[in-house]
Amino acid sequence: MATPVAEAADVTFSYDSEPAVDGVSFSLPAGTAAALLGPNGAGKTTFIRLLTGILTPDDGSVRLFGGDLTEADRARLGVLPQGFTPQARLTPRELLEYYGGLYPESRSVTTVLEELGIESAADRQYRRLSGGQQRRTCLGIALINRPRFLVLDEPTAGIDPGGKRALWRYLPKLVDAGTTLLVTTHDMVEAERLADRIGFFHQGELLAFDTAEALVEEYLGQRHLIIETSAPAHIAERLEAASMTDEAVRVEGVTQSELGGLVDQVLDVGVEVTALRWEQPPLEELFTTMIEGGGGT
């Protein structure tokens, strides 16, 4: 297991005696990507502020890069705060030069502009950029110091689907190159696209933190195989844990390793199969199930 880049142990924080983060423990190994999900006010942003040293916990402890948070090297940290807006009258080039100038070492401004596809708008004032260009400029600011730990608080809020997809293609490349990524989002699809592990915040508590597959399995049940056929009875009687409808057979609890053997069994029956679908319960239902107390199946 890689050394954790960020760790929180039983961290608690309140705003004016109103608990915002309540006893959260969390560990993020180096070179991995995690997403924190939850409704507005759930505690995601406060937790990120605690993890990056912007806030100090009332109780519990936070470690960054394996050491005490107060001693952590901020030059290795890249943060895009929620709703961050840089100086509107500076251009993307000037903004990247400015933020790059705050670090001991920074990346080439031209390279960052090219990577993010904003070189054509590099000398236009930020206030005159499109929403997508503005968001990419902000991401460039978070990346300019070549961070080892990149924290993005709702990075795709307010940008169009094309911009979102571009970001979804770009961020995994950073993780592949060794950057540890932590994002917050309201978008379950985004979380699954970007993150190895997903955490759910609700009323200041981290309800769960695991891979999407493990969370689905625990809270929504296992993946199942749907076999569409004109002769469901013939197939259903040959398979364990199978249920039958008029034109399909459903087999519960099918793991990836079992899938090949099961398909072979179905084909061996020798009846016509019009479709095979290996499905998992929709991830979107996960959060609702969790906060309603619908435990694992």
Binding site: R49, T52, G53, I54, L55, T56, T70, R74, A75, L77, G78, V79, L80, P81, Q82, G83, F84, T85, P86, Q87, R89, L90, E94, L95, E97, Y98, Y99, G100, G101, L102, Y103, P104, E105, S106, Q125, I141, N145
Partner: protein, 247 residues
């Protein structure tokens, strides 16, 4: 990159941002020129005097106009604005320290204030029968006033709950101090009941020391000490209160 590089980056960004803002430019450069223009006209109409004082009396007041209002107006409103935009939060995660941030803002305010300050003194020399002695004391006093009101601006910016609120408080503090601290309104004209209060104003001590320096003398140690100590304390408190939580 050294701390000097960080200061340079922060100062340059602030300077570029400010100089592209026409309203702010107008307030910084034209407003003091208008006030001084009015004084020059009044002094000339009064045969070299205004409110019973010679033109030289007002020189520290002219400087106070720019070295109080420039740092105050650049810093007080920018703190709630930068907070709202997440810029201070972002900076808190960089190697930039709160003291660097305020120092960079102070440097920019100093550069910006120097231009109208020189212009005001030139206008006074050209358009009124004033003679002045320029000495390093003037620079030291102006620097102290700049640092004081950078700190005061940071304190106001932290305590105010909005940009508008910060600007309003800044003006409510700045205007009486600049006009009544033995600067643009002579103390004889100010009601006697208010005069003891003006002793508490650092601008009063700046004006007294400035008048001595402009006449070629050495300012009293007491005046210099008050101006210097207030500057250090205001700046330190301003840094301490800056809402970049991590230090």
């Amino acid at each position: 990159m050294s701390r000097l590089d960080r200061l340079r980056a922060e100062s340059l960004a602030e300077f570029r941002s400010f100089t592209r803002h026409r309203t702010a430019l107008f307030f910084t450069f034209v407003f003091p020129l208008l006030i001084v223009g009015a004084y020059v006209a009044a002094i000339n109409a009064g045969d070299g005097e205004f409110l019973g004082e010679a033109a030289a009396y007002y020189l520290p007041g002219f400087l106070a106009l720019v070295f109080v209002f420039t740092p105050l107006s650049r810093i007080d409103g920018s703190i709630p604005r930068d907070l709202e935009a997440g810029r201070l939060e972002k900076l808190a995660t960089t190697p930039l320290r709160p003291v660097d941030w305020l120092l960079a803002r102070t440097i920019v305010a100093g550069v910006l204030a120097s231009v109208p300050a020189v212009a005001l003194l030139l206008i006074a020399v050209v358009a009124t029968p004033v003679s002045m002695h320029l000495s390093p004391w003037i620079l030291l006093l102006c620097g102290s006033l700049l640092v004081t009101f950078a700190g005061v601006g940071a304190i106001i910016g932290r305590l105010a709950d909005s940009e508008d609120g910060a600007i309003a408080v800044g003006n409510a503090i700045g205007f009486p101090l600049v006009f009544f601290s033995e600067t643009l309104i002579p103390s004889d004209v100010v009601p006697t009941s208010i005069q003891p209060v003006l002793e508490l104003s650092p601008v009063t001590h700046f004006a007294r020391a400035g008048r001595t320096a402009f006449s070629g003398g050495t300012p009293a140690v007491g005046e210099l000490a008050v101006v210097g100590i207030v500057a250090v304390v205001a700046f330190a408190v301003g840094v301490r209160l800056l809402p970049m939580i991590r230090r």
